[in-house]
Symmetry: C2
Subunit: 253 residues, 2 copies
Protein backbone atom coordinates (compact mmCIF):
# COMPACT_ATOMS: atom_id res chain seq x y z
CA UNK A 1 0.00 0.00 0.00
CA UNK A 2 1.44 3.38 -1.04
CA UNK A 3 0.69 6.25 1.34
CA UNK A 4 0.10 9.56 -0.39
CA UNK A 5 -0.39 13.20 0.53
CA UNK A 6 -1.80 15.43 -2.21
CA UNK A 7 -1.08 19.17 -2.14
CA UNK A 8 -3.27 21.44 -4.27
CA UNK A 9 -6.87 22.50 -4.84
CA UNK A 10 -7.13 22.94 -8.63
CA UNK A 11 -8.51 20.72 -11.38
CA UNK A 12 -5.59 18.28 -11.48
CA UNK A 13 -5.56 17.87 -7.68
CA UNK A 14 -9.32 17.40 -7.66
CA UNK A 15 -9.42 14.68 -10.33
CA UNK A 16 -6.30 12.91 -9.09
CA UNK A 17 -7.55 12.82 -5.49
CA UNK A 18 -10.87 11.39 -6.66
CA UNK A 19 -9.11 8.72 -8.70
CA UNK A 20 -6.70 7.76 -5.89
CA UNK A 21 -9.46 7.59 -3.27
CA UNK A 22 -11.10 4.88 -5.38
CA UNK A 23 -7.84 3.00 -5.80
CA UNK A 24 -7.20 -0.02 -3.56
CA UNK A 25 -3.42 0.02 -4.08
CA UNK A 26 -3.17 3.48 -2.58
CA UNK A 27 -3.98 5.20 0.69
CA UNK A 28 -4.66 8.93 0.46
CA UNK A 29 -3.49 9.97 3.91
CA UNK A 30 -4.23 13.67 3.57
CA UNK A 31 -5.09 16.51 1.20
CA UNK A 32 -3.53 19.94 1.74
CA UNK A 33 -4.56 23.27 0.24
CA UNK A 34 -3.82 26.82 1.35
CA UNK A 35 -7.57 27.38 1.59
CA UNK A 36 -9.88 24.65 2.80
CA UNK A 37 -12.83 25.67 0.63
CA UNK A 38 -11.56 23.84 -2.50
CA UNK A 39 -10.85 20.57 -0.69
CA UNK A 40 -13.70 20.38 1.81
CA UNK A 41 -15.43 17.94 -0.57
CA UNK A 42 -12.85 15.33 0.51
CA UNK A 43 -13.51 15.77 4.23
CA UNK A 44 -15.59 12.61 4.44
CA UNK A 45 -12.99 10.44 2.69
CA UNK A 46 -9.66 11.61 4.14
CA UNK A 47 -7.92 14.22 6.30
CA UNK A 48 -7.80 17.75 4.94
CA UNK A 49 -5.61 20.62 6.13
CA UNK A 50 -4.50 24.15 5.28
CA UNK A 51 -1.52 23.96 7.63
CA UNK A 52 1.80 22.89 6.09
CA UNK A 53 3.34 22.16 9.49
CA UNK A 54 0.73 19.48 10.03
CA UNK A 55 1.49 17.30 7.02
CA UNK A 56 1.20 13.59 7.80
CA UNK A 57 3.75 10.84 7.13
CA UNK A 58 3.55 9.40 3.61
CA UNK A 59 5.64 7.72 0.88
CA UNK A 60 4.87 10.24 -1.86
CA UNK A 61 3.91 13.91 -1.64
CA UNK A 62 2.25 15.01 -4.87
CA UNK A 63 2.37 18.76 -5.57
CA UNK A 64 -0.55 19.30 -7.95
CA UNK A 65 -0.20 23.07 -7.90
CA UNK A 66 0.31 25.78 -10.52
CA UNK A 67 3.73 25.98 -12.20
CA UNK A 68 4.66 29.17 -10.41
CA UNK A 69 3.96 27.72 -6.97
CA UNK A 70 6.18 24.61 -7.31
CA UNK A 71 9.53 26.16 -6.29
CA UNK A 72 8.15 28.16 -3.39
CA UNK A 73 5.89 25.45 -1.96
CA UNK A 74 8.50 22.69 -2.28
CA UNK A 75 11.16 24.86 -0.59
CA UNK A 76 9.03 25.07 2.55
CA UNK A 77 8.63 21.29 2.84
CA UNK A 78 10.90 19.72 5.41
CA UNK A 79 10.57 16.11 4.32
CA UNK A 80 13.79 14.13 4.47
CA UNK A 81 13.97 10.74 2.76
CA UNK A 82 10.56 11.21 1.25
CA UNK A 83 9.63 11.43 -2.40
CA UNK A 84 8.19 14.77 -3.49
CA UNK A 85 6.87 15.04 -7.05
CA UNK A 86 5.22 17.75 -9.12
CA UNK A 87 2.63 17.22 -11.86
CA UNK A 88 3.67 19.90 -14.34
CA UNK A 89 4.34 19.34 -18.03
CA UNK A 90 6.48 22.39 -18.56
CA UNK A 91 8.61 22.42 -15.40
CA UNK A 92 11.88 20.48 -15.04
CA UNK A 93 12.26 18.05 -12.14
CA UNK A 94 14.85 20.28 -10.44
CA UNK A 95 12.27 23.05 -10.14
CA UNK A 96 11.51 21.22 -6.89
CA UNK A 97 13.48 22.90 -4.10
CA UNK A 98 12.81 20.49 -1.24
CA UNK A 99 15.47 18.53 0.59
CA UNK A 100 13.47 15.41 -0.32
CA UNK A 101 13.98 13.03 -3.20
CA UNK A 102 12.53 14.49 -6.39
CA UNK A 103 10.30 13.20 -9.12
CA UNK A 104 7.62 14.08 -11.66
CA UNK A 105 4.17 12.58 -12.12
CA UNK A 106 2.76 14.28 -15.22
CA UNK A 107 -0.71 13.25 -16.38
CA UNK A 108 -1.10 14.31 -19.98
CA UNK A 109 -4.77 15.19 -20.17
CA UNK A 110 -7.01 18.26 -20.14
CA UNK A 111 -8.82 18.55 -16.83
CA UNK A 112 -12.00 20.56 -16.27
CA UNK A 113 -14.02 20.25 -13.08
CA UNK A 114 -17.18 19.69 -15.18
CA UNK A 115 -15.81 16.62 -17.05
CA UNK A 116 -15.30 13.23 -15.48
CA UNK A 117 -11.98 11.71 -16.57
CA UNK A 118 -11.39 8.02 -17.26
CA UNK A 119 -7.92 7.73 -15.74
CA UNK A 120 -7.31 4.27 -17.14
CA UNK A 121 -6.43 5.82 -20.53
CA UNK A 122 -4.61 8.94 -19.27
CA UNK A 123 -0.89 8.69 -20.14
CA UNK A 124 1.25 9.19 -17.03
CA UNK A 125 4.81 10.44 -17.69
CA UNK A 126 7.13 9.73 -14.78
CA UNK A 127 10.66 10.81 -13.88
CA UNK A 128 12.75 10.37 -10.72
CA UNK A 129 16.34 10.67 -9.48
CA UNK A 130 16.73 7.08 -8.34
CA UNK A 131 15.73 3.70 -9.71
CA UNK A 132 13.87 2.95 -6.46
CA UNK A 133 11.74 6.10 -6.70
CA UNK A 134 11.07 5.45 -10.36
CA UNK A 135 9.73 2.01 -9.49
CA UNK A 136 7.54 3.50 -6.77
CA UNK A 137 6.11 6.03 -9.24
CA UNK A 138 5.61 3.29 -11.81
CA UNK A 139 3.63 1.26 -9.30
CA UNK A 140 1.48 4.30 -8.56
CA UNK A 141 1.04 5.17 -12.27
CA UNK A 142 0.09 1.66 -13.35
CA UNK A 143 -2.39 1.39 -10.51
CA UNK A 144 -4.50 4.15 -12.08
CA UNK A 145 -3.62 3.99 -15.79
CA UNK A 146 -2.64 1.45 -18.42
CA UNK A 147 -0.33 4.00 -20.10
CA UNK A 148 2.86 4.78 -18.18
CA UNK A 149 5.92 6.34 -19.85
CA UNK A 150 9.45 7.14 -18.64
CA UNK A 151 9.97 10.71 -19.86
CA UNK A 152 12.83 12.99 -18.90
CA UNK A 153 12.48 16.74 -18.30
CA UNK A 154 13.54 17.70 -21.82
CA UNK A 155 11.20 15.26 -23.50
CA UNK A 156 8.39 16.38 -21.22
CA UNK A 157 8.94 20.00 -22.18
CA UNK A 158 8.52 19.18 -25.85
CA UNK A 159 5.49 16.97 -25.13
CA UNK A 160 3.93 19.92 -23.34
CA UNK A 161 4.41 22.20 -26.35
CA UNK A 162 3.03 19.52 -28.67
CA UNK A 163 0.02 19.26 -26.34
CA UNK A 164 -0.59 23.00 -26.70
CA UNK A 165 -0.86 22.51 -30.47
CA UNK A 166 -3.12 19.43 -30.44
CA UNK A 167 -5.27 20.54 -27.51
CA UNK A 168 -5.30 24.31 -26.77
CA UNK A 169 -4.87 25.45 -30.37
CA UNK A 170 -7.15 22.76 -31.78
CA UNK A 171 -9.85 23.83 -29.33
CA UNK A 172 -9.41 27.43 -30.46
CA UNK A 173 -9.97 26.33 -34.07
CA UNK A 174 -13.17 24.61 -32.88
CA UNK A 175 -14.12 27.97 -31.36
CA UNK A 176 -13.53 29.76 -34.67
CA UNK A 177 -15.61 27.11 -36.47
CA UNK A 178 -18.38 27.74 -33.95
CA UNK A 179 -18.04 31.50 -34.47
CA UNK A 180 -18.41 31.15 -38.26
CA UNK A 181 -21.49 28.94 -37.78
CA UNK A 182 -23.12 31.43 -35.41
CA UNK A 183 -22.44 34.35 -37.75
CA UNK A 184 -24.22 32.44 -40.54
CA UNK A 185 -27.08 30.81 -38.63
CA UNK A 186 -25.85 27.26 -39.05
CA UNK A 187 -25.97 24.85 -36.09
CA UNK A 188 -22.41 24.00 -34.95
CA UNK A 189 -23.56 20.43 -34.15
CA UNK A 190 -23.43 19.65 -37.91
CA UNK A 191 -19.63 19.75 -37.55
CA UNK A 192 -19.36 17.35 -34.61
CA UNK A 193 -19.18 14.08 -36.61
CA UNK A 194 -16.44 15.64 -38.77
CA UNK A 195 -14.53 16.71 -35.65
CA UNK A 196 -14.80 13.19 -34.26
CA UNK A 197 -13.66 11.53 -37.48
CA UNK A 198 -10.72 13.96 -37.77
CA UNK A 199 -9.56 12.89 -34.31
CA UNK A 200 -10.20 9.18 -34.98
CA UNK A 201 -8.54 9.15 -38.40
CA UNK A 202 -5.06 9.69 -36.97
CA UNK A 203 -5.25 6.54 -34.88
CA UNK A 204 -4.82 4.59 -38.14
CA UNK A 205 -3.15 7.14 -40.46
CA UNK A 206 -0.35 9.62 -39.69
CA UNK A 207 -1.58 13.24 -39.65
CA UNK A 208 0.71 13.77 -42.64
CA UNK A 209 -1.24 11.19 -44.65
CA UNK A 210 -4.65 12.18 -43.27
CA UNK A 211 -4.46 15.74 -44.63
CA UNK A 212 -7.22 16.80 -47.04
CA UNK A 213 -8.75 20.12 -48.13
CA UNK A 214 -8.10 23.05 -50.48
CA UNK A 215 -4.62 23.90 -49.11
CA UNK A 216 -3.04 20.52 -49.88
CA UNK A 217 -4.68 20.57 -53.34
CA UNK A 218 -3.39 24.13 -53.77
CA UNK A 219 -6.95 25.02 -54.82
CA UNK A 220 -6.45 28.79 -54.92
CA UNK A 221 -9.97 29.43 -56.25
CA UNK A 222 -11.64 27.91 -53.17
CA UNK A 223 -9.05 29.47 -50.85
CA UNK A 224 -9.84 32.97 -52.15
CA UNK A 225 -13.59 32.35 -51.88
CA UNK A 226 -13.13 31.23 -48.28
CA UNK A 227 -11.03 34.23 -47.28
CA UNK A 228 -13.65 36.59 -48.69
CA UNK A 229 -16.23 35.63 -46.06
CA UNK A 230 -13.90 35.67 -43.03
CA UNK A 231 -13.21 38.37 -40.44
CA UNK A 232 -9.75 39.90 -40.31
CA UNK A 233 -8.55 37.69 -37.46
CA UNK A 234 -9.99 34.52 -39.04
CA UNK A 235 -8.37 35.50 -42.36
CA UNK A 236 -4.97 35.88 -40.77
CA UNK A 237 -5.14 32.38 -39.25
CA UNK A 238 -6.56 30.91 -42.47
CA UNK A 239 -3.71 32.41 -44.51
CA UNK A 240 -0.92 31.28 -42.18
CA UNK A 241 -2.17 27.70 -41.77
CA UNK A 242 -2.85 27.38 -45.50
CA UNK A 243 0.70 28.55 -46.21
CA UNK A 244 2.08 26.09 -43.67
CA UNK A 245 0.15 23.17 -45.23
CA UNK A 246 1.32 24.14 -48.73
CA UNK A 247 4.95 24.33 -47.55
CA UNK A 248 4.72 20.99 -45.74
CA UNK A 249 3.62 19.11 -48.83
CA UNK A 250 5.72 21.05 -51.30
CA UNK A 251 8.86 20.00 -49.46
CA UNK A 252 7.96 16.41 -48.76
CA UNK A 253 5.84 15.04 -51.60
CA UNK B 1 -37.54 2.85 -54.68
CA UNK B 2 -35.35 5.78 -55.79
CA UNK B 3 -33.28 5.15 -58.92
CA UNK B 4 -29.87 6.73 -58.89
CA UNK B 5 -26.94 7.29 -61.24
CA UNK B 6 -23.66 8.32 -59.61
CA UNK B 7 -21.10 10.27 -61.64
CA UNK B 8 -17.52 10.39 -60.32
CA UNK B 9 -14.60 8.21 -59.32
CA UNK B 10 -13.09 9.96 -56.31
CA UNK B 11 -13.36 9.32 -52.57
CA UNK B 12 -16.85 10.77 -52.14
CA UNK B 13 -18.22 8.84 -55.15
CA UNK B 14 -16.57 5.66 -53.89
CA UNK B 15 -17.95 5.82 -50.35
CA UNK B 16 -21.39 7.04 -51.43
CA UNK B 17 -21.75 4.30 -54.05
CA UNK B 18 -20.79 1.68 -51.49
CA UNK B 19 -23.32 3.04 -49.00
CA UNK B 20 -26.13 3.26 -51.56
CA UNK B 21 -25.49 -0.25 -52.91
CA UNK B 22 -26.20 -1.57 -49.42
CA UNK B 23 -29.33 0.51 -49.09
CA UNK B 24 -32.70 -1.18 -49.70
CA UNK B 25 -34.55 2.09 -50.32
CA UNK B 26 -32.34 2.89 -53.29
CA UNK B 27 -31.43 1.34 -56.61
CA UNK B 28 -28.01 2.31 -57.99
CA UNK B 29 -28.76 2.00 -61.70
CA UNK B 30 -25.31 2.97 -62.95
CA UNK B 31 -21.95 4.49 -62.05
CA UNK B 32 -20.21 6.78 -64.55
CA UNK B 33 -16.59 7.93 -64.58
CA UNK B 34 -14.44 9.32 -67.40
CA UNK B 35 -12.05 6.46 -66.82
CA UNK B 36 -13.31 3.01 -65.91
CA UNK B 37 -10.32 2.09 -63.76
CA UNK B 38 -11.60 3.88 -60.64
CA UNK B 39 -15.08 2.35 -60.81
CA UNK B 40 -14.37 -1.18 -62.03
CA UNK B 41 -14.75 -2.36 -58.40
CA UNK B 42 -18.51 -1.78 -58.79
CA UNK B 43 -18.81 -3.93 -61.93
CA UNK B 44 -20.25 -6.86 -60.04
CA UNK B 45 -22.91 -4.79 -58.28
CA UNK B 46 -24.17 -2.39 -60.95
CA UNK B 47 -23.63 -1.04 -64.48
CA UNK B 48 -20.51 1.04 -65.04
CA UNK B 49 -19.73 3.30 -67.99
CA UNK B 50 -17.29 5.94 -69.24
CA UNK B 51 -19.68 7.12 -71.93
CA UNK B 52 -21.91 10.07 -71.06
CA UNK B 53 -24.24 9.41 -73.99
CA UNK B 54 -25.12 6.06 -72.48
CA UNK B 55 -26.45 7.26 -69.13
CA UNK B 56 -29.45 5.26 -67.95
CA UNK B 57 -32.83 6.56 -66.79
CA UNK B 58 -32.94 7.52 -63.11
CA UNK B 59 -34.66 9.83 -60.61
CA UNK B 60 -31.50 11.47 -59.30
CA UNK B 61 -28.11 12.00 -60.94
CA UNK B 62 -25.46 12.63 -58.30
CA UNK B 63 -22.36 14.47 -59.51
CA UNK B 64 -19.72 13.48 -56.97
CA UNK B 65 -16.92 15.17 -58.89
CA UNK B 66 -14.32 17.85 -58.12
CA UNK B 67 -15.56 21.44 -57.75
CA UNK B 68 -13.99 22.55 -61.01
CA UNK B 69 -15.71 19.79 -63.01
CA UNK B 70 -19.29 20.54 -61.88
CA UNK B 71 -20.14 23.30 -64.38
CA UNK B 72 -18.59 21.59 -67.36
CA UNK B 73 -19.92 18.10 -66.67
CA UNK B 74 -23.43 19.29 -65.82
CA UNK B 75 -23.61 21.40 -68.99
CA UNK B 76 -23.14 18.30 -71.14
CA UNK B 77 -26.00 16.42 -69.47
CA UNK B 78 -29.18 16.41 -71.50
CA UNK B 79 -31.59 15.29 -68.80
CA UNK B 80 -34.95 17.04 -68.88
CA UNK B 81 -37.28 16.70 -65.89
CA UNK B 82 -34.64 14.87 -63.90
CA UNK B 83 -32.98 15.95 -60.71
CA UNK B 84 -29.24 16.60 -60.99
CA UNK B 85 -27.37 17.34 -57.76
CA UNK B 86 -23.77 18.05 -56.84
CA UNK B 87 -22.04 17.08 -53.59
CA UNK B 88 -19.79 20.10 -53.08
CA UNK B 89 -19.62 22.17 -49.91
CA UNK B 90 -18.17 25.27 -51.50
CA UNK B 91 -20.16 25.48 -54.75
CA UNK B 92 -23.57 27.17 -55.02
CA UNK B 93 -26.49 25.17 -56.40
CA UNK B 94 -26.59 27.27 -59.59
CA UNK B 95 -23.06 26.13 -60.44
CA UNK B 96 -24.99 23.29 -62.09
CA UNK B 97 -25.46 24.18 -65.76
CA UNK B 98 -27.79 21.36 -66.84
CA UNK B 99 -31.30 21.87 -68.17
CA UNK B 100 -32.44 19.54 -65.39
CA UNK B 101 -33.84 20.40 -61.97
CA UNK B 102 -31.06 21.33 -59.61
CA UNK B 103 -30.13 20.36 -56.10
CA UNK B 104 -27.29 19.76 -53.67
CA UNK B 105 -26.51 16.67 -51.61
CA UNK B 106 -23.54 17.67 -49.42
CA UNK B 107 -22.18 15.07 -47.01
CA UNK B 108 -20.14 16.88 -44.40
CA UNK B 109 -17.39 14.38 -43.66
CA UNK B 110 -13.75 13.73 -44.52
CA UNK B 111 -13.44 10.83 -46.92
CA UNK B 112 -10.28 8.80 -47.45
CA UNK B 113 -10.30 5.55 -49.41
CA UNK B 114 -8.46 3.83 -46.52
CA UNK B 115 -11.13 4.65 -43.90
CA UNK B 116 -14.54 3.03 -43.73
CA UNK B 117 -17.24 5.61 -43.04
CA UNK B 118 -20.31 5.02 -40.88
CA UNK B 119 -22.82 6.96 -42.97
CA UNK B 120 -25.54 6.81 -40.31
CA UNK B 121 -23.86 9.70 -38.47
CA UNK B 122 -22.70 11.72 -41.50
CA UNK B 123 -24.68 14.99 -41.68
CA UNK B 124 -26.29 15.41 -45.09
CA UNK B 125 -27.03 19.01 -46.11
CA UNK B 126 -29.65 19.22 -48.85
CA UNK B 127 -30.94 21.99 -51.08
CA UNK B 128 -33.28 21.99 -54.10
CA UNK B 129 -35.30 24.37 -56.29
CA UNK B 130 -38.69 22.79 -55.64
CA UNK B 131 -40.48 21.38 -52.63
CA UNK B 132 -40.93 18.08 -54.47
CA UNK B 133 -37.21 17.66 -55.17
CA UNK B 134 -36.37 18.65 -51.61
CA UNK B 135 -38.62 15.87 -50.34
CA UNK B 136 -37.00 13.39 -52.72
CA UNK B 137 -33.53 14.37 -51.46
CA UNK B 138 -34.75 14.19 -47.88
CA UNK B 139 -35.98 10.64 -48.47
CA UNK B 140 -32.60 9.73 -49.93
CA UNK B 141 -30.67 11.47 -47.12
CA UNK B 142 -32.65 9.90 -44.29
CA UNK B 143 -32.28 6.47 -45.87
CA UNK B 144 -28.52 6.59 -45.28
CA UNK B 145 -28.12 8.99 -42.33
CA UNK B 146 -29.96 10.05 -39.21
CA UNK B 147 -28.72 13.66 -39.64
CA UNK B 148 -30.37 15.57 -42.49
CA UNK B 149 -30.32 19.38 -42.67
CA UNK B 150 -31.91 21.90 -45.04
CA UNK B 151 -29.02 24.24 -45.84
CA UNK B 152 -29.01 26.94 -48.53
CA UNK B 153 -26.00 27.79 -50.70
CA UNK B 154 -24.85 30.67 -48.50
CA UNK B 155 -25.07 28.68 -45.30
CA UNK B 156 -23.28 25.78 -46.95
CA UNK B 157 -20.44 28.04 -48.06
CA UNK B 158 -19.85 29.14 -44.45
CA UNK B 159 -20.17 25.56 -43.19
CA UNK B 160 -17.48 24.58 -45.65
CA UNK B 161 -15.10 27.25 -44.36
CA UNK B 162 -15.84 26.25 -40.77
CA UNK B 163 -15.07 22.65 -41.76
CA UNK B 164 -11.66 23.74 -43.08
CA UNK B 165 -10.87 25.14 -39.62
CA UNK B 166 -12.12 22.17 -37.56
CA UNK B 167 -10.87 19.47 -39.96
CA UNK B 168 -8.07 20.51 -42.34
CA UNK B 169 -6.40 23.01 -40.01
CA UNK B 170 -6.91 20.85 -36.93
CA UNK B 171 -5.27 17.94 -38.74
CA UNK B 172 -2.34 20.18 -39.62
CA UNK B 173 -1.92 21.05 -35.93
CA UNK B 174 -1.89 17.28 -35.24
CA UNK B 175 0.87 17.07 -37.83
CA UNK B 176 2.89 19.78 -36.08
CA UNK B 177 2.39 17.99 -32.75
CA UNK B 178 3.71 14.84 -34.40
CA UNK B 179 6.66 16.77 -35.84
CA UNK B 180 7.61 18.15 -32.39
CA UNK B 181 7.40 14.64 -30.91
CA UNK B 182 9.59 13.16 -33.63
CA UNK B 183 12.18 15.90 -33.24
CA UNK B 184 12.42 15.09 -29.52
CA UNK B 185 12.15 11.30 -29.55
CA UNK B 186 8.78 11.14 -27.85
CA UNK B 187 6.11 8.74 -29.15
CA UNK B 188 3.18 10.69 -30.67
CA UNK B 189 0.75 8.06 -29.33
CA UNK B 190 1.10 9.66 -25.86
CA UNK B 191 -0.97 12.54 -27.24
CA UNK B 192 -3.83 10.45 -28.64
CA UNK B 193 -5.98 10.32 -25.45
CA UNK B 194 -5.63 14.11 -25.14
CA UNK B 195 -6.67 14.55 -28.78
CA UNK B 196 -9.71 12.34 -28.19
CA UNK B 197 -10.74 14.16 -25.02
CA UNK B 198 -10.34 17.55 -26.75
CA UNK B 199 -12.78 16.42 -29.46
CA UNK B 200 -15.18 14.84 -26.94
CA UNK B 201 -15.17 17.77 -24.54
CA UNK B 202 -17.02 20.07 -26.94
CA UNK B 203 -19.99 17.73 -27.13
CA UNK B 204 -20.88 18.89 -23.59
CA UNK B 205 -19.09 22.28 -23.33
CA UNK B 206 -18.87 25.07 -25.92
CA UNK B 207 -15.33 25.44 -27.34
CA UNK B 208 -15.32 28.88 -25.72
CA UNK B 209 -15.78 27.32 -22.28
CA UNK B 210 -13.52 24.33 -22.97
CA UNK B 211 -10.41 26.47 -23.58
CA UNK B 212 -7.43 25.82 -21.31
CA UNK B 213 -3.67 26.37 -21.58
CA UNK B 214 -1.03 29.10 -21.17
CA UNK B 215 -2.61 31.52 -23.68
CA UNK B 216 -5.95 31.89 -21.87
CA UNK B 217 -4.08 32.25 -18.54
CA UNK B 218 -1.82 34.82 -20.22
CA UNK B 219 1.10 32.82 -18.79
CA UNK B 220 3.86 34.69 -20.63
CA UNK B 221 6.64 32.76 -18.87
CA UNK B 222 5.49 29.39 -20.25
CA UNK B 223 4.69 30.94 -23.65
CA UNK B 224 8.25 32.23 -24.00
CA UNK B 225 9.71 28.89 -22.90
CA UNK B 226 7.60 27.13 -25.51
CA UNK B 227 8.57 29.45 -28.34
CA UNK B 228 12.25 28.92 -27.57
CA UNK B 229 12.15 25.26 -28.60
CA UNK B 230 10.08 25.69 -31.80
CA UNK B 231 11.14 26.01 -35.43
CA UNK B 232 10.45 29.30 -37.22
CA UNK B 233 7.27 28.04 -38.88
CA UNK B 234 5.97 26.46 -35.67
CA UNK B 235 6.78 29.69 -33.80
CA UNK B 236 4.81 31.79 -36.25
CA UNK B 237 1.71 29.62 -35.80
CA UNK B 238 2.19 29.48 -32.03
CA UNK B 239 2.39 33.27 -31.82
CA UNK B 240 -0.66 33.95 -33.99
CA UNK B 241 -2.94 31.41 -32.29
CA UNK B 242 -1.80 32.54 -28.83
CA UNK B 243 -2.59 36.14 -29.77
CA UNK B 244 -5.99 35.09 -31.10
CA UNK B 245 -6.84 33.21 -27.88
CA UNK B 246 -5.72 36.17 -25.74
CA UNK B 247 -7.87 38.56 -27.81
CA UNK B 248 -10.89 36.25 -27.67
CA UNK B 249 -10.94 36.14 -23.90
CA UNK B 250 -9.85 39.73 -23.31
CA UNK B 251 -12.88 40.94 -25.21
CA UNK B 252 -15.42 38.55 -23.83
CA UNK B 253 -14.56 37.68 -20.24
Amino acid sequence: MINIVILGGGNVAYHLTNALLQNNAVNVVQVYNRNLENIKCFKKSTLVTDNLSKLKEADIYILAVSDNAIAQLSSTLNLKNKLVVHTSGSMAMDELKSISNKGVFYMLQTFSKERKIDFSSVPVCIEAETEKDLMLLETLATSISKNCYLINSNQRKSLHVAAVFVNNFVNHLYHIGNEICEENNVPFEILLPLIQETANKITTLTPFKAQTGPAIRNDTKTIEKHKAILTKNQQEIYTLLTKSICNTYEEKL
